[in-house]
């Protein structure tokens, strides 16, 4: 007998049992635990031969199946108490399988809901919010999970942004274009502004460099004058 379904395709022993029940056309609601046990053992053996790791959970269930089976093989002289115990075990296993099956099946709907929701995008909180939220000194204690949520947002955005950067490299701005942009935009700046102010829309190192070269040109052409004070360069329109 060959097994095409390997153990790592199952979510656990219950999932495996449901698979065996389906494959061997056993009746879940009138389950012959003997047959199930045989199939289960046979399957685990095959996996072992294929040198696949069998998680301990599978062995725990195997132990209880074997216990069940061995009790059944004992002669009828066994006490009636055992018979009850036997039945209880059988019922328990079937009910566990049914309970698990319910959740396994409903995940298909969840998956579908998730797929449909992932077609819709949200946007990050607007930066303007930072003007309104003052970081004051009396914060209430905050859950560390807020940090992980924040980190998740960054990582998600970071991943989204990667190919995005690649996309726009096709249309790189030239120094000349940047000079035109700056000539137009410096009218909107304060009278005296910093290099940082001119980088308001730079999104990567390339654009920062182009911006800087454009500024140098503008200084060279006497459109801007500059002064250095405390590590900061200040510019002014001439």
């Amino acid at each position: 007998m060959e097994f095409f379904v390997t153990i790592d395709q199952f979510e656990g022993p219950l999932d495996l049992m449901l698979h065996l029940i389906k494959e061997k056309e056993l009746d879940l609601f009138d389950l012959d635990i003997n047959i199930l046990t045989e199939q289960y053992i046979e399957y685990l053996h095959a996996m072992e031969k294929m040198k696949l790791d069998i998680a301990s959970e599978y062995l725990v269930e195997l132990a209880s199946l074997i216990e069940y089976k061995s009790k059944k093989l004992l002669p009828n002289v066994e006490a009636e108490l055992d018979d009850n115990y036997q039945q209880q075990q059988e019922v328990d296993l079937v009910n566990r399988l049914i309970e698990y099956k319910k959740f396994k099946e409903v995940t298909v709907i969840f998956d579908d809901l998730y797929q449909r929701r992932s077609l819709k995008f949200d946007k990050p909180q607007s930066e303007i919010v930072n003007q309104w939220i003052d970081i004051n000194e009396n914060y209430e204690s905050t859950s560390a999970y807020e940090l992980i949520k924040a980190m998740n947002r960054c990582l998600k955005r970071f991943q989204l942004a990667q190919p995005y950067e690649v996309n726009i490299t096709q249309k790189r701005i030239s120094i000349d274009d940047r000079k035109k942009q700056l000539k137009f935009n410096i009218n909107k700046f304060d009278e005296i502004f910093t290099l940082n102010n001119t980088m308001y829309d730079c999104r990567d190192l390339y654009e920062v460099v182009i911006n800087f070269l454009a500024i140098l040109d503008l200084v060279n052409e006497n459109i801007l004058s500059f002064t250095v004070k405390d590590d900061e360069v200040y510019f002014k329109k001439v």
Binding site: E11, G12, P13, L14, D15, F29, D30, A55, E57, E61, N84, Q87, Q88, E90, V91, V94, N95, R96, I98, E99, Y100, K101, K102, F103, K104, E105, V106, T107, I109, F110, D111, L113, Y114, R116, R117, S118, L119, K120, F121, D122, K123, P124, Q125, S126, I128, V129, Y145, I148, K149, N152, R153, Q159, L160, A161, Q162, P163, Y164, N167
Partner: protein, 181 residues
């Protein structure tokens, strides 16, 4: 009374992916929550049926937010390529489903149903803020109880837990081996 709809749209826009809670909205607009819920229900119906809009208003738990409509998806994707098609694993979906239907629920209860250890999975779901701790059970060892979060309702587009898809119904067996529903 002036039209509050544009104001609400503006607020939801600024707030972005976190959305805005019902109570925050009620406080800012100075409207009691019950009237606000009714107003929002109407607004959402109107908003989402307007085909000239590319946005949709969603309510998840007691939060509201704006998202793009599915029609814009392929275009947005061109702009912001997603890394492959992210999927939930079967194990994650099973664990989430069990928590959603049984909450508040302990790890042991989840493991009994799934038949496997769920320790790592629970930690991952906590880290993704899809579930949260909801106190402890008053029993030996005081185990944590877990419940799903608004983020869970968000990613499965559920307005409330009463909207959870119905669990398939199966007969169960009793000790006499009798079937019942």
């Amino acid at each position: 009374m002036s039209d509050l709809r544009p104001i609400i749209e503006g607020i939801l826009f600024v707030s972005g992916d976190e959305g805005v809670s019902l109570s925050q909205l009620s406080e800012v607009l100075v409207i009691n929550e019950d009237s606000l819920i009714e107003m929002m229900d109407n607004y959402i119906t109107e908003y989402n049926s307007d085909d000239s809009r590319g946005l949709e208003m969603m309510c998840y738990g007691k939060r509201y937010k704006l998202v793009t409509k599915a029609i814009a998806h392929e275009y947005c994707q061109k702009l912001y390529e997603e890394t492959s098609n992210k999927q939930f694993s079967q194990a994650a979906l099973e664990t989430l489903a069990i928590i959603a239907y049984k909450q508040p629920v302990t790890r042991v209860e989840i493991e009994e149903i799934r038949g496997v250890s769920c320790d790592m999975m629970i930690r991952r779901l906590l880290a993704r803020n899809l579930i949260r701790e909801a106190g402890r059970l008053d029993t030996v060892g005081k185990p944590f109880l877990y419940e799903v979060t608004e983020d869970f309702m968000d990613i499965f587009s559920l307005t409330s837990l009463s909207e959870l898809p119905e669990l398939p119904e199966y007969q169960t067996v009793n000790e006499e081996g009798e079937l019942f529903y």
